[in-house]
């Protein structure tokens, strides 16, 4: 694809030299709630993702944080067209993926891969490591068998595994090693963009840092662009250039890593940051926490106006009536809140 096609997707706020690789406009992913066994009637929708607007620059890592069920994985899957979005556009180098079908979509998919949370469930237990890592090459018809074998060995080496392991099965590996296998598989087809969906959550603390460092090294080496999904804010801050905070199907704040942690604007971001335990008893003793009331409402029936209002200590009357606008309050700092 010619480079200058990327220019087409630059919105007013992105008129910098940084090029946008991916832009999401008005993305919605609703899952129908049905009733009745034979004649399934649609009685409502789970609004898992309900109108997202953001972009990811080439070579950057955008972190996506938020609590369980807020729609992070669904966002990643809808971007990759593993789910076909209910509404909105996903522009990859200016091409709207939601309009692609068949061969055209398959060709684009090759440039986008996913790494999953659970290194135990995401690898086929009956396939050898060599076949797991090489499968995407076969699917996309890349190389001759001998070249593929060669490539698989290279990939294992790149992710820090012994190439000698090609004929072993996933159960012979630890969690961290399995996650490396998943990373090797994602890299097989030379993608530009990888959705990392909680790639370290299932791993031990002492192993997490190994995988984070690996992902960072690979990014530098291959110029990868990441959407990094996680619920651990300390990790997200470490790995991301910019961070998006999601709540109940919406992004409520998005800004650069440093700005988010030094100058959070949205009440939910503030609460989330204050809830993260810090491994230092002296700091913990002095910390003031914002304890949120209650639980996250159901995405099948989100609150009117601002979705965070049922738990927000700063809510006003208008918060129940009018949905706060998603706007850029300062350069590269987006937020949706009536108080900001």
């Amino acid at each position: 694809m010619p480079q200058d096609e990327t220019m087409a997707v630059q919105s007013s706020s992105t008129q910098s030299s940084d090029r946008v690789l991916l832009e999401v406009r008005g993305l919605k992913m609703w899952f129908p709630i049905t009733q009745g066994l034979i004649l399934q009637r649609r009685v409502g929708d789970i609004r898992a993702v309900d109108g997202l607007d953001f972009f990811i620059r080439r070579g950057e890592t955008l972190g996506l944080v938020g609590e369980s069920g807020c729609g992070k994985s669904t966002t990643g899957r809808a971007i990759l067209q593993l789910y076909r979005p209910t509404a909105g556009q996903v522009l990859f180098e200016g091409t709207d993926l939601t309009r692609l079908r068949g061969e055209a979509l398959r060709r684009m998919r090759r440039r986008m891969q996913m790494i999953f949370q659970d290194p135990y469930a995401s690898l086929n237990p009956r396939m050898t490591v060599g076949n797991i890592v090489g499968e995407p090459l076969e699917v996309h018809n890349i190389g001759k068998p001998e070249e593929r074998r060669q490539r698989v060995q290279e990939l294992l080496e790149v992710v820090g595994l012994n190439p000698y392991f090609v004929n072993r099965y996933p159960h012979e590996f630890s969690g961290g090693q399995r996650q490396r296998i998943g990373v090797a598989r994602a890299l097989a087809v030379n993608p530009d963009f990888i959705v990392c969906d909680e790639p370290i959550s299932a791993l031990d603390v002492s192993i997490q840092a190994q995988i984070i460092n690996l992902l960072e090294e690979l990014q530098d080496k291959f110029g990868l662009t990441y959407l990094f999904i996680a619920h651990d804010l300390s990790v997200v801050r470490h790995i991301s250039d910019r961070v998006a905070v999601m709540y109940l199907g919406k992004i409520v704040e998005l800004t650069t890593r440093d700005e988010l942690y030094s100058n959070p604007l949205h009440p939910y971001t503030k609460a989330l940051l204050s809830a993260v335990p810090i491994p230092d008893p002296v700091v913990e003793e002095k910390r003031q926490r914002i304890i949120l009331e209650g639980d996250v409402p159901s995405p099948a029936n989100p609150p009117s106006g601002c979705r965070f209002r049922t738990r927000c200590g700063l809510r006003m009357d208008i918060c129940a009536e009018v949905e706060p606008e998603w706007r850029e309050t300062a350069a590269d700092h987006w937020v949706a809140c009536h108080r900001v």
């Binding site: 609590e67 192993i207 460092n213 960072e216 335990p277 491994p279 008893p281 700091v283 913990e284």
Partner: protein, 327 residues
Amino acid sequence: MGTLLQVKGLRTRFYTQDGVVNAVNGIDFSVDEGETLGIVGESGCGKSVSVLSVMRLIPQPPGRIVGGEVWFGGRDLLRVDEAEMRQVRGNKIAMVFQDPMTSLNPVLTINQQVSEALQLHLGMDKAQARKRAIELLEMVNIPRAADRIDDYPHQFSGGMRQRVMIAMGLSCSPQLLIADEPTTALDVTIQAQILDIVKRLKRELGMAIIWITHDLGVVAGLAERVIVMYAGYVIEHAEVKDLYADPRHPYTLGLLRSIPRLDAERKAKLTPIDGLPPDLIDMPPGCPFAPRCAYAIERCLVENPQLETVARRHQVACWVDVTSGRD
């Protein structure tokens, strides 16, 4: 303050098809009245098996407590009969588990489950038990407790279920609450709610707590003393401030260095601990951390160090003084 629980030389093994799993390998620890002890370490290091052994809840077979003593209230719990042990469990020592869905019965209402313990251990009648159950739910901040008490567990969120478990644990005013990763499966804002409740209850009720977690942040905010476990051993024990300010075991040091901190300057690169924890069936001779340890010397490969006191209330199992060369 008096010692409430004293564990000495506890050893627990599992006799499996693949071999003998050396899950807990002769550990010592104690808890004072009203104190919170944190137990940290990675998956499989023996945290749960240690406290399940204290409660005598190890599935047998394949498990067996093969040695040690657990002193509580003037007797060795490993040597009392099952009837006496039942009195201790739930009454004097309560336990909250990681996954509230597996420990709550899905076909009974919350009231039926919370009231049961009250009727069983405190001899309350149905109406008294219900009244007390509502109070307990209010104590752990369940909104509209009186209305919600007849709900079933699936009608509660994960955080609410965990709070119900804590309420049940507290129902008989135990002297010791053992909490095995009760917030690990929960979101941070919900975890913050629960930690807030636990800190308040501890102040109000004065009970002792053993809090198990792999999150060094949670322990920092909650515990007075901490033990760090690795491969079934206690490898470091210290007061919480000393553990973080002056960690002495290479594994503890490694853990603290490998986690990014929200409040600190961002590091260009994290410092991971290389390698993997050992196989508990086929343990290396020497120090269990030796294959991953940057400080290892020859002796480490052949001889396993015992916990030794290195400073006031600070014990470490390591042949090397990691502070030498520091100023």
